[in-house]
């Protein structure tokens, strides 16, 4: 916390090179990232980058963002220790960072509020976004309502069905939800469709990208706006436990909640960073979203990164019970963290995630998002591995209200 009582300082948005892993001028994290997009979009990306560069060093912007984070999103979010849950992890200490308690119910709101403020600075009146679980769509619709922006959300038809509650929320908030019926009808195709809209309407429209994937500068901007999660958690861990955690666990779809909690700890070499991707029905089944674990380097959605693709570069459709992790790409910074060895990535099956989902509900009275349940399942494994002396910080990226339909089916409720 800064001395004036705000929660955010200019240094809290990274971009100051403090962690040695800011992308270069072309948005490259090592060999990853960059821009692979139609030339028509380059000026818009340049404009977003320039406006962000100015905003992040502008006290007025930081004040506005800070104000929204505190008075609207409900930051700082608390830490919650979960001892009854941790009994199932060999007795290691498990502490949750409660992004589920933010307004709209997931970490997505942090990035959205930051980019919504950028949209105003860009002088644009319309925002579009892709959404998988619907959390990014809901957060975007929310910010659009708050700031008086027109809002269109692209969502795969399959996801519209499994996250029907969030579709209704977005509509209630005044957004137009466009179901995408081509390809796998999930997040990947929603992103394609959002790009098509953007290239057509770029004069009036900001593409409020929801994760740390996509062309430069999105991976950097979305990370910086999500960074507050780790900045707070680091301070709170020191207050609560007197030391840094031994390991951090976060789920990885595109990678925004994971980078959000990892980033402030990257310089702390004693802290292990573990990302959990959706293993769906298991690696062997071929039905999974193990982009970092089992994918290969390629280009998807404007960025060089790990991709699920066949030997000719065609994207392979992903599978996960959680819409938010059902994506065959991943943010380039995670690709870079993986190859550098600083972070490790694992898979968690649908079944293991659902077991952790119900375990947290029954032992602690917290119903997590199915996405976040992948991190919880990972923490159970980590705990058993690291032993009872270990302290594990888990990013509880969202709450499970949106997942009741899936849970009712899965558990026969």
């Amino acid at each position: 916390m800064a001395n004036d009582g705000t929660i955010l300082t200019a240094a809290d948005l990274a971009g100051n090179g403090a962690y040695g892993n800011d992308p270069d001028v072309h948005g490259k994290f090592g060999i990853f990232g960059g821009r692979y997009v139609p030339e028509a979009l380059i000026p818009a990306l340049d404009e977003v980058a320039a406006v962000y560069e100015k905003a992040k060093n502008d006290a007025e912007f930081l004040r506005e963002f800070d104000h929204l984070l505190r008075t609207y999103a409900g930051r700082p979010t608390t830490l919650t220790e979960v001892p009854r849950f941790a009994e199932h992890a060999g007795g290691a200490r498990i502490i949750l960072k409660r992004e589920d308690l933010t307004h709209t119910g997931a970490h997505k709101i942090n990035n959205v509020l930051g980019q919504a403020l950028l949209t105003k600075r860009l002088g644009k009146k319309r925002v579009i976004a892709e959404t998988g679980a619907g959390q990014h769509g809901v957060a975007t619709a929310t910010a659009a309502a708050l700031l008086g922006l027109e809002c269109v959300i692209y969502m795969g038809q399959v996801d519209c069905e499994r996250q029907a509650l969030n579709v209704a929320r977005m509509k209630l908030l005044g957004a137009t939800v466009v179901p995408v019926t081509n390809g796998s009808q999930t997040l990947k195709d929603a992103i394609n469709e959002a790009f098509r809209d953007w290239v057509t309407n770029v004069d009036t429209t900001h593409y409020l990208f929801g994760t740390i994937a996509g062309p430069h500068p999105f991976p950097e901007i979305v990370r910086d706006f999500a960074r507050i999660i780790g900045v707070e958690a680091r301070r709170q861990m020191l207050e609560l436990t007197g030391r840094l955690p031994d390991a951090i666990a976060a789920c990885v779809g595109g990678g925004s909640n994971a980078i959000g909690i990892f980033h402030a700890f990257i310089g702390d070499e004693s802290v292990q960073l573990h990302g959990y991707e959706a293993a769906g029905h298991g690696l062997e089944s071929g039905e999974h979203a193990l982009t970092l674990t089992a994918g290969s380097v390629g280009v998807l959605h404007g960025s060089r990164t790990y991709v699920l693709q066949d030997e000719e570069g065609q994207t392979i459709e992903s599978h996960s019970i959680s819409a938010g992790l059902d994506y065959p790409g991943v943010g380039p910074e995670h690709a870079w963290l993986k190859d550098s060895g600083r972070a490790v990535y694992h898979g968690v099956t649908d079944d293991a995630a659902m077991a952790a989902f119900s375990l947290l509900a029954r032992t602690e009275g917290i119903i997590p998002a199915i996405e976040s349940s992948h991190a919880l399942a990972g923490a159970l494994e980590l705990g058993r591995e690291l032993g009872p002396e270990a302290t594990i910080l888990v990013n509880l990226s969202g709450r499970g209200d949106k997942d009741m339909g899936t849970a009712m089916k899965y558990f026969n409720l």
Binding site: R35, Y36, P38, R196, G302, V307, G313
Partner: protein, 266 residues
């Protein structure tokens, strides 16, 4: 093998624009793509772009998305694309491949350039490969002796136009509008201005694509550009035709109309 240089020199000598037709490989079938392209050549297309079908065509509108999807469902592979190029090049048309970057990246830049040249292809158009990321592909293409065509857009600044044309050989592709592929009622007025701005930075031919669908539009574009690129309008007709033969006939009629258009510069 007809080179792009020959095509544009001939067109210039005849005081007309070149006509460029686009069709994805494997659509309506692997063989059907070759015969359809041959029909375009016979009707007067000087250059054929063979699309390499990709799972995530984020620059394409519904018509090309539909055709590409069918092609992938038909099981089209890169080997089929190269065979298609071979078949089309045999008609005497200068034949290019238009593709998103990832399939080449995965196949291997040098290998793709070599295999494309081996099939008689004269170059590629890569709409999502920016100048910043293009160096490996330009090097591989130069080594294989094929051209590299990149796109400028109405939103391009002077600096971007310069950066893009400096990477181009063969010709420069000017996207007429801000948007995805697909025929439009009118060709955007921004196209003429973009061609003018592009010429200030290069002596290469400048071809206009996106949204051209009629002979009249072709004539209009031929009034200021070196080439007129037509894709979705042909594909739409093939999608709407009851069978491949009817589709071929229908695109032949349209291509003849376009060929007349590029010869009657409006």
């Amino acid at each position: 093998m007809t080179t792009l240089q020959t095509v544009f020199a001939t067109a210039k000598a005849e005081n007309r624009a070149a006509l460029v037709g686009y069709l994805p490989a494997g659509f309506p079938s692997k063989e059907g793509a070759v015969t359809a392209a041959a029909a375009l050549v016979e009707a007067g297309c000087d250059v054929i772009e063979i699309g390499l079908p990709y799972s995530d065509p984020l620059m394409d509108g519904p018509t090309i998305q539909d055709a590409v999807h069918r092609s992938l469902v038909n099981g089209t592979r890169i080997a089929d694309v190269l065979r298609t190029v071979e078949g089309v090049a045999a008609t005497g048309a200068a034949t290019l491949v238009m593709t998103y970057w990832n399939p080449i990246d995965r196949y291997g830049a040098e290998r793709f350039a070599r295999d494309l040249a081996g099939a008689g292809g004269v170059g590629t158009i890569t709409p999502d490969l920016t100048p910043e990321e293009s160096e490996p592909w330009r090097a591989a293409s130069a080594a294989a002796g094929i051209d590299t065509v990149f796109l400028v857009a109405p939103s391009s600044t002077e600096a971007r136009i310069k950066a893009v044309v400096d990477c181009c050989t063969g010709f420069v592709y000017a996207a007429s509008l801000m948007g995805v592929t697909g025929a439009r009622e009118t060709v955007n007025v921004a196209a003429e201005d973009l061609v003018k701005r592009t010429r200030a930075h290069t002596a290469l031919p400048v071809c206009v694509g996106l949204g051209v669908g009629t002979g009249k539009q072709a004539a209009e574009v031929a009034g200021y550009a070196d080439g007129v690129i037509v894709g979705s309008a042909f594909i739409r007709r093939m999608l709407d035709a009851p069978d491949e033969a009817a589709g071929r006939e229908s695109i032949g009629v349209l291509a003849r109309e376009m060929a007349a258009g590029v010869r009657s510069r409006a």
